[in-house]
Symmetry: C2
Subunit: 154 residues, 2 copies
């Protein structure tokens, strides 16, 4: 039982929510898959392996709850379902970006932020107070990279 779970339990309890066994199962699955971007159903399937008596609705409700507390973050890579990842933002204050390969679908994380200049500009020019951002970069990954030579594709 990592310390993280205890901390999150506090966070919930402070707002009169409980860290129930089922919510803990969901949380563990998310913690053990920090590098992945699981959909609700994928989380459900993983939770089911250990706690078969969990319903899909509970998983959805739990994900919603965790999202509201910024424990996890939901995102959308355009495949029609929300995907979730453990929110490292709460730790280092920085969101990372995602490279999405439009060929194989692989998701690569970019940990550098590098949006300071742009954010400063937005803050000044548009009088906009930034709370968060989300950057998706589409293209071809190392493996799916198009050949440099003889690439005459339309």
């Amino acid at each position: 039982m990592p310390r993280v779970i205890g901390e999150i339990e506090e966070k919930l309890r402070a707002h009169d929510y409980k860290m129930t066994p089922k919510r803990e199962q969901v949380l563990k699955v998310l913690l053990e898959n920090k590098d992945k971007h699981l959909s609700a159903e994928e989380v459900y399937n993983l939770v089911k392996l250990r706690a078969p008596d969990v319903g899909l609705a509970t998983v959805y409700r739990t994900l919603e709850l965790f999202s509201n507390f910024d424990i996890i973050h939901s995102m959308d890579f355009g495949d029609g379902r929300k995907r979730y990842e453990f929110s490292s933002q709460s730790m280092d204050g920085h969101r990372h970006h995602h490279l999405i390969c439009i060929d194989c679908g692989r998701i690569i994380e970019v940990t550098e932020d590098l949006l300071e200049e742009l954010e400063a500009r937005v803050t000044n020019r548009y009088n906009f107070v930034i709370s968060d951002h989300e950057l998706k970069i589409f293209g071809w990954c190392r493996e799916c990279k198009p050949q440099k030579k003889n690439d005459q594709s339309p």
Copy 2:
């Protein structure tokens, strides 16, 4: 009948698709609302005003078709439905960014790109060939901006 429509007609025809009257209605609605981010149903309602004999399915199919030809671009602001905008990218080669007010929901466009440095880094460091990107910045707009003084929230 602006020139744009003719150009797009060519684009479609080159791939054996027709610019039918109904598709043209959809296109006109999009052209007249370049500054908005309409959902399929909103497009449908606007088209209906002038051509009541258009079905929702046709609007969906047309939006899909236009998307495939990069005539329009679909995006998602997290409200559970796709939104579309006329693709200015095909003109200046640059996608713009969106500021999303998490209070009133207003969408503000940022025309500067300013992602060159980051893109260069991604290209080199991750060996990733970039084709496109999408940046959403969340926060509070000019009007919804939290007060500086006495802001003890939450």
